[in-house]
């Protein structure tokens, strides 16, 4: 392809057309079935109302973006630190892993009052909840990744005088990267939704609050407009995750089949 812009366009063409087709199907279903806009609004209406209500929508997007980004950064750190701790101590692994699995089973409704009690309505509890929801896939990925390290490599490093830490840094960590990035994709997908749910626990502003209000004011069109914004945010994060993967693993492109 001559033009890199054109090529990029070509690469996202299938996605764009798939989404367009879905939207067209939806639009015509609404038009033909005569379903009430209070039940299922058409995409055109969602768009129009979203544009009309954009100032308030935008105002509610920013806190969610903040919570998502900061929470996700915390999550990255927590997942990594925990994975290291667990990798270094088999006893801790057996002690912590079940506790962490259990922690993931707590529905937000059960912990939300406590989070509010302890951290108030500010940004902090949202950051914590986003981190809480998204760290687990990355943790599992790290742990699986460490396990996938080539034993010969660890043996070699051992003979070089590498201690447990150096072996970890030189062999286990890079070996786990492909797994980590699989976990990262899953986590980024959930980060925005997590922030939205976190806002349900109590917030003054945010996409979650916007959705809740729109619902309680019987405005499914605005609910879905906010959902649309959250989808766009998620796609951006997902794209960033893929970009980060490309940058962090420059050698990976040589592993593609040679024929």
């Amino acid at each position: 392809m001559v033009n890199p812009m054109l090529e990029r366009l070509w690469r996202i063409a299938p996605a764009l057309s798939a989404i367009t087709i879905l939207l067209l199907l939806w639009e015509s279903y609404v038009a033909l079935s005569g379903i009430a806009p209070t039940t299922l609004p058409a995409p055109s209406r969602i768009w129009a109302q979203g544009v009309l209500n954009w100032p308030s929508l935008a105002q509610n997007t920013w806190p969610t973006v903040q919570a998502t980004v900061l929470g996700f950064m915390l999550s990255l750190c927590v997942a990594f630190v925990l994975s290291v701790v667990i990798d270094f101590s088999p006893a801790l692994r057996r002690a912590l892993l079940p506790v962490l699995v259990i922690s993931q089973t707590l529905p937000l409704i059960a912990i939300a009052p406590l989070v509010i009690l302890w951290f108030g309505f500010g940004l902090a509890p949202k950051i914590l909840l986003v981190a809480f929801v998204t760290f687990f896939p990355m943790l599992v990925a790290w742990l699986k990744g460490y396990e996938a390290t080539e034993p010969d490599l660890e043996w070699l490093l051992g003979t070089m005088g590498a201690g447990r830490a150096a072996i970890f840094r030189q062999a286990r960590l890079p070996s786990a990267l492909p797994y980590f990035f699989a976990g990262l994709r899953i986590s980024t997908t959930y980060a925005v939704v997590a922030a939205i749910f976190a806002e349900y626990a109590g917030a003054a502003r945010g996409l979650g609050i916007y959705i809740l209000s729109a619902k309680n004011n019987f405005r499914p069109d605005l609910v879905l407009a906010a959902v649309g914004v959250s989808a766009v945010l998620t796609l951006c994060l997902f794209g960033l995750a893929i970009l980060a993967e490309r940058i962090a693993m420059p050698w990976a492109r040589f592993r593609e089949p040679r024929r």
Binding site: A204, K215, N217
Partner: protein, 312 residues
């Protein structure tokens, strides 16, 4: 074909007539098979308009809003005869003596624009500015109030209020009507014109049996509470709460008005709240534009399917 009815909340004492009628066989006697649908997050108006349910328990705001927006939903029965909602705050808040003192404080809200209008009206009518901060909390509002994270919230006095009293929590409340907000039937049973026109007799039979259930609850508080709890072992794990709540409903003349009206919708009350919502720009049409003209609120409800003796 059973008659299906949707709920506005998990089964509670507001629904007592429904369960009593079911348990005591009033519906059977009327030749009806009634299915009480599980509570869902979906709007009751949506369920009715899409024929998932034939009837539904709805709160007033939903009824006004959905009907204005063109949803085929119409109130046919008033569950409570007078407002059960209250502003509630901790009793130890010396700084709050009256609604005007709420200015600048933090309100734990549920996410509807109506709350904002209601509270600001309350404050302004009491001489304040009507400015306060809202944090949307939904289900966690009462914990937040209890531990002082927020200054005040809104409650259903016959449920949250009764619970607080049982627990011995010291609280104070403001009644909306005391500060110029019109009184209302907080909850209705609603149906659709499509259903009512297609099966008027079924509707009549259903409402009559339902009303017998509520009348029974007014007369036989203890037995009604027992039946309600027995029908909902999961939803009502505490029969003490159900008992006390039903007592409060009767004592406050919520289920039966002081004049003895049960289920009857008061047209003046209905129009007054409609007027309040209309003038505050809360009612939107099908295109999400505020209603340009004052609607005919008598089209939002009908008493025509109630038994003769309940007609106003």
């Amino acid at each position: 074909e059973p008659v299906r009815i949707a709920l506005d909340w998990t089964p509670n004492t507001n629904h007592v007539g429904l369960y009593v009628a079911q348990e005591l066989g009033y519906f059977d006697e009327a030749g009806l098979e009634v299915e009480i649908l599980p509570y869902t997050d979906a709007a009751v108006g949506t369920l009715i308009a899409n024929r998932v349910a034939d009837f539904g328990v709805v709160d007033a705001l939903q009824l006004y809003s959905q009907h204005s927006a063109g949803v085929d939903i119409i109130a046919v029965y008033a569950v409570v005869q007078t407002e059960t909602g209250r502003i509630v705050l901790n009793a130890d808040r010396q700084d709050i003596a009256r609604p005007a003192d709420l200015d600048g404080l933090v309100y734990a809200g549920f996410g509807s624009a109506w709350e904002d209008r209601l509270i600001s009206t309350l404050i302004r009518n009491d001489g304040g500015d009507g400015t306060f901060e809202t944090v949307t909390l939904g289900t966690s509002a009462y914990e937040a109030l209890a531990n002082g994270s927020v200054d005040f919230t809104m409650e259903v006095v016959t449920w949250e209020g009764v619970k607080a009293e049982l627990e011995g929590t010291e609280q104070r409340r403001f009644r909306y009507a005391d500060y110029g907000v019109p009184d209302q039937h907080t909850n209705f049973i609603a149906s659709s014109t499509a259903f009512l026109e297609a099966e008027p007799e079924t509707a009549r039979a259903f409402l009559e049996a339902l009303r017998r259930g509520y009348a029974f609850a007014v007369e036989n508080e203890e037995e009604a509470a027992r039946l309600l709890v027995a029908a909902n072992p999961t939803a009502l794990p505490d029969d003490s709460l159900a008992r006390a709540s039903l007592a409060a409903l009767n004592e406050g003349h919520y289920l039966a008005s002081e004049t003895g009206a049960i289920g009857t919708i008061d047209p003046e009350k209905f129009a007054a709240m409609g007027e309040f919502l209309f003038t505050s720009g809360m009612l939107l049409d099908v295109n999400a534009e505020p209603l340009a003209e004052r609607p005919d609120f008598s089209a939002y409800f009908t008493n025509a399917y109630l038994p003769e003796d309940a007609q106003p």
